[in-house]
């Protein structure tokens, strides 16, 4: 508005007043004032743009390099811990009837899980540096893991000594296994899961704040750019009119530079907002949802084993199985047999029309947000896994415990163990797809922030603002010199 006030200036007879004291009644005074205004609005533009770019950088840092990776690391930790206990249950359940090859394989997976858990715990510890509560949680997991391994080893040694047929081991083995599995469920798994959730909350918070800051920052940058260009244009016109020259070269260069800068800053911020959104909604959210689905599915498989392993707690494990199944994929049902039926019906409807997602839970979220062959494949294998579960429970209920155990522990094609592994592979590949989307979006965001005519945007902005200010001073300097 100062611009409009001064442009109506030619009425030279106006008495020297407030403007007079500032020297605004003379041409050099007005040029100085206009130039000062232009430099000031450039400073404002610089401020607005660097805040917006800073928001984009912060968002990428938290989601892509800080809380995001922590969520992935603690997710791996949770899965490996759960699988550790599941493998122990499997070994105890098989007893002496496992072929040497199968036993080797079970033990190999057990040590793999242990290695993954240790590695993931160390990574989580590194990422939680600076947060004492998180560090305490990771420390307690590492301590507990040592204790768990001792109990598990003891149970396995006792089990080997018992030399029992496939099925529930003797009471002394079950007693030690109960201690181990309780330690796992009560003291190790909860802090790992809570760390994952906490990381998820941090990502959500950062995303909500930063993405809206980047999108509104984009509008503010556009607005500030327009004001800068208007101020420069006013200065250009005033100088041109006063000195009867067509163009002030330095001012023209500054104006052109700032037009280019504004347009590319707005484009950058639009791009960053889009990358943040892609990383969060097409990548991170699904990775978190499906990693939780994978971990809980794995503990479903473990509950099948524990159900047969520890008859004294069979009720507890059956009820937990239903609750967990409904967390993974919810269909209204009062008990397990209703669940199998309702699952079958809703899967049939889904296959007929993948838009008809009549279920909730983790799979409900995923199927609604990202329909496609990957989620359909995981769903049909989940259904197969549940059908196998029904067979196993029917055998157990009819008193054929031994057959149920043999069916569950088998790993040949078409056996429940084989089906579960295939299901797990489908979930892993679904997570892998989202992981690729996530990594791609974060890389693109980083790349664009680091890539401009002058390298990094953080370096470009002050240089460009300074350059424009220098050009303005240079542009008016020669004209002002004519008055000296």
């Amino acid at each position: 508005m100062l611009v409009t006030a001064t442009s109506r200036e030619p009425r030279r007879w106006r008495p020297a007043g407030r403007f007079g004291r500032l020297g605004l009644q003379t041409t050099p005074g007005r040029i100085r004032a206009l130039a000062a205004v232009a430099v000031l609005v450039i400073a404002g533009f610089y401020l607005v743009a660097s805040i917006a770019v800073g928001n984009a950088r912060d968002g990428l840092r938290v989601i892509g390099h800080d809380a995001g990776p922590q969520v992935l690391a603690t997710g791996d930790l949770y899965f490996a811990l759960g699988d550790l206990d599941s493998q122990v249950a499997s070994i105890l359940l098989t007893g002496r009837e496992s072929s040497p090859g199968a036993r080797q394989q079970q033990l190999r997976r057990y040590s793999q899980d242990r290695a993954v858990a240790n590695r993931a715990a160390l990574q989580a510890a590194e990422l939680s540096a600076g947060d004492p509560a998180d560090q305490a949680a990771v420390r307690s997991i590492l301590d507990g893991l040592g204790q768990y391994e001792r109990l598990a080893s003891r149970a396995m040694v006792l089990d080997e000594q018992a030399h029992h047929p496939a099925g529930p081991p003797p009471a002394n083995v079950i007693a030690v296994y109960r201690q181990a599995t309780d330690l796992m469920t009560l003291e190790l798994l909860p802090p790992a899961y809570n760390l994952t959730l906490e990381g998820g909350a941090t990502v959500r918070e950062a995303y909500t704040a930063k993405r809206s800051a980047v999108s509104s920052g984009r509008l503010w940058v556009a607005l500030a750019g327009l004001v800068v260009i208007a101020a420069l244009a006013a200065l250009q016109f005033f100088v041109a009119a006063r000195f009867r020259r067509r163009l002030n070269f330095a001012l023209a260069v500054a104006t052109l530079g700032l037009i280019v800068l504004t347009v590319s800053a707005v484009r950058l911020l639009s791009g960053e907002a889009a990358h943040l959104q892609a990383a969060k909604t097409s990548g991170f959210d699904s990775i978190l949802t499906m990693s939780r689905a994978r971990a809980i599915s794995n503990s479903l498989h473990a509950d099948e084993r524990r159900f047969l392993l520890d008859p004294g707690r069979a009720d507890t494990y059956s009820l937990a199985y239903l609750d967990k199944s409904q967390t993974v994929l919810y269909v209204a049902s009062a008990d397990l047999s209703e669940y199998y039926t309702a699952l079958g019906a809703s899967m049939k409807a889904y296959r007929a029309n993948p838009q008809a997602v009549r279920f909730l839970g983790f799979y409900g979220d995923e199927a609604r947000a990202h329909p496609g062959p990957a989620v359909s494949a995981a769903l049909s294998r989940f259904q197969q896994f549940q059908a196998d579960d029904q067979r196993i429970r029917q055998l157990a209920e009819a008193g054929h415990d031994r057959q149920a155990v043999m069916l569950l522990t088998g790993r040949t094609a078409g056996s429940p163990g084989y089906d579960f592994d295939r299901y797990d592979q489908a979930v892993v590949s679904l997570i892998g797809q989202h992981r690729a989307t996530f990594d791609q979006a974060i890389r693109a965001g980083d790349r664009e922030l680091g890539r401009s005519v002058l390298g990094n945007w953080a370096a470009l902005l002050p240089l460009a603002a300074l350059g424009a200010a220098v050009l303005i001073v240079a542009g008016v300097w020669a004209r002002l010199a004519e008055y000296r």
Partner: protein
Amino acid sequence: MNRGRVKAGGWVSAVVTLALGLSLAACSAAGPASIVGQQTLRIGVKADQPGLGQRLPGGRFAGFDVDVARYVAARLGVRPDHITFVPVTSATREAVLENGSVDMVIATYSITPERETKVTFGGPYYVAHQDTMVRADDTAIRSVHDLKGKRLCAVTGSNSWKRVTQELNITATLTPAASYSECVAMLLDRKVDAISTDDLILAGYAARSSTAVRIVNAPFSYERYGIGIRKGDLSGCEAVNKAVSQMYLDGTAAALLQKWFGRTRLQLDTHVPQFEGCG
């Protein structure tokens, strides 16, 4: 008529509109009213559950759930005198959250997938186990399976009897009641043979009439006590989880469990439970 001023005015109003639009957009992005940032909280608790949530003769509320509610509210920045406790029953818990007459429910409220379709749960702040209570002279019932053919008390809105008759398919005869206090009275009057619900609830009654009743001590489920808030309040749920983590970290949880259930024979778990997750 000064055209320059009109133009300038238009420009100003455009900027103001833009700024207002931006700030409004920022507000609406926050979603439905959250329990975060509230000055006052109305918290639904049980009024007749000894040890958990009970209205005392003076009108004050006391119990483990009530103390947890005070702790969580304090962590959310609400002053103790700005908390209003509202009595709720098992049957009204979803309704009072959905119609907005309370902001939060901490009332032995087990997280179930079905309830999660209507309510967002923070926590759990404790994992209880379902067990069975019978008259002290009844030695025939030793596990939940012995309830076959017996009269089981069924509290409206509670999930516990469904676990027995539906999920475990045990054919007990259901006798409806409005609350567990009523169930205990019916048990002592020999109108029902058993009450099956969370060990924390049973412990509260057993402490009052310890010679007349007996807890079977055959737990068979994980009952995750959640903090119910309005569906979709994600930042509220995350704040509640932070508060619960803190409650276990600073030893308050262990102290409160000891305060309310230390004298019973219950095995108390003082490790932070695995949270349900907000999203």
